[in-house]
């Protein structure tokens, strides 16, 4: 399954790109598992996801928790806590 992944702010800087297409193995079923899998894809990913508890995620532009399923997701975004307003 190919998934479009977006990175923002400090996560984008650490990964070194704003977005990419990824193909995780089928056993990666949740947002939390995807973060663990991404963290093992190279030094820049390990750095970006070194503290997954502070990384927030959205699926198809809605906030989700780490236990959310990624099955059928069109677009998954990872970012630090928000600081707008």
């Amino acid at each position: 399954m190919t998934i479009k992944v977006l990175y923002f702010a400090s996560v984008r800087e650490r990964v070194g790109k704003p977005e990419e297409e990824i193909e995780p193995p089928a056993e990666v079923a949740t947002v939390g598992q995807l973060m663990t899998w991404l963290a093992a894809q190279g030094d820049e990913y390990t750095y970006a996801f070194e503290n997954p508890k502070v990384i927030r995620a959205a699926i198809d532009r809605k906030h989700v928790r780490p236990d959310a399923s990624i099955i059928g997701a069109g677009e998954i975004a990872f970012f630090p806590p928000m600081t707008g307003g």
């Binding site: 923002f8 702010a9 532009r61 906030h63 928000m82 307003g85």
Partner: protein, 161 residues
């Protein structure tokens, strides 16, 4: 209800935006506005500028969701949310939230609700430029607590008796 949600790089005319909420109608008795402005300091150190990054598409959707929630909670006649992105210098406006209602209580409460949620749920990130370096602004626990209070059930009518 009139709803205006805009994300933009360009500055805007606050007075004109506020006037639109009550223009051409006589049922609006209260307009509350909140204006967020770029300060010249962060953590007691001077800054040169702020850069706001956002998640296009989700930022608008998230603001729209919270605007709908505000509308369900209070009898609002209009809501305007304009949030800027890109590089802003101290003194420049970052965000405007304006709410219109027949009476002030709903307008005050809805403006505060929307700001609390903008701070913690709308996908924007601030980066400061200071002394030639850039750093991401840390989220504040106080902002999460401010947003959290809106998810508590409303006080019972007999509370405090």
């Amino acid at each position: 209800m009139t709803t205006t949600i805009r994300l933009q790089r360009e500055p805007f005319d606050i007075a004109a935006e506020v006037a639109k909420l009550s223009g051409g109608r006589t049922d609006v008795g209260a307009v509350v506005t909140f204006t967020g402005i770029c300060r010249a300091d962060e953590k007691d150190a001077p800054i040169a500028a702020l850069t706001l990054e956002h998640y296009p598409g989700m930022a608008e959707a998230e603001i729209a969701r919270h605007t709908e929630e505000a509308r369900a909670r209070w009898p609002l006649l209009g809501v305007t949310v304009i949030h800027r992105h890109g590089r802003l210098k101290p003194g420049e406006v970052i965000v405007l939230v304006a709410t219109a209602s027949s009476h002030r209580q709903a307008a005050f409460a809805a403006a505060e609700f929307l700001m609390d949620y903008l701070k913690t749920r709308a996908p924007f990130w601030k980066q400061v430029e200071a002394a030639g370096e850039t750093a991401w602004v840390d989220a504040k626990a106080a902002d999460d607590e401010a947003a959290e209070r809106w998810s508590a059930p409303p006080p019972r009518p007999d509370a405090g008796k």
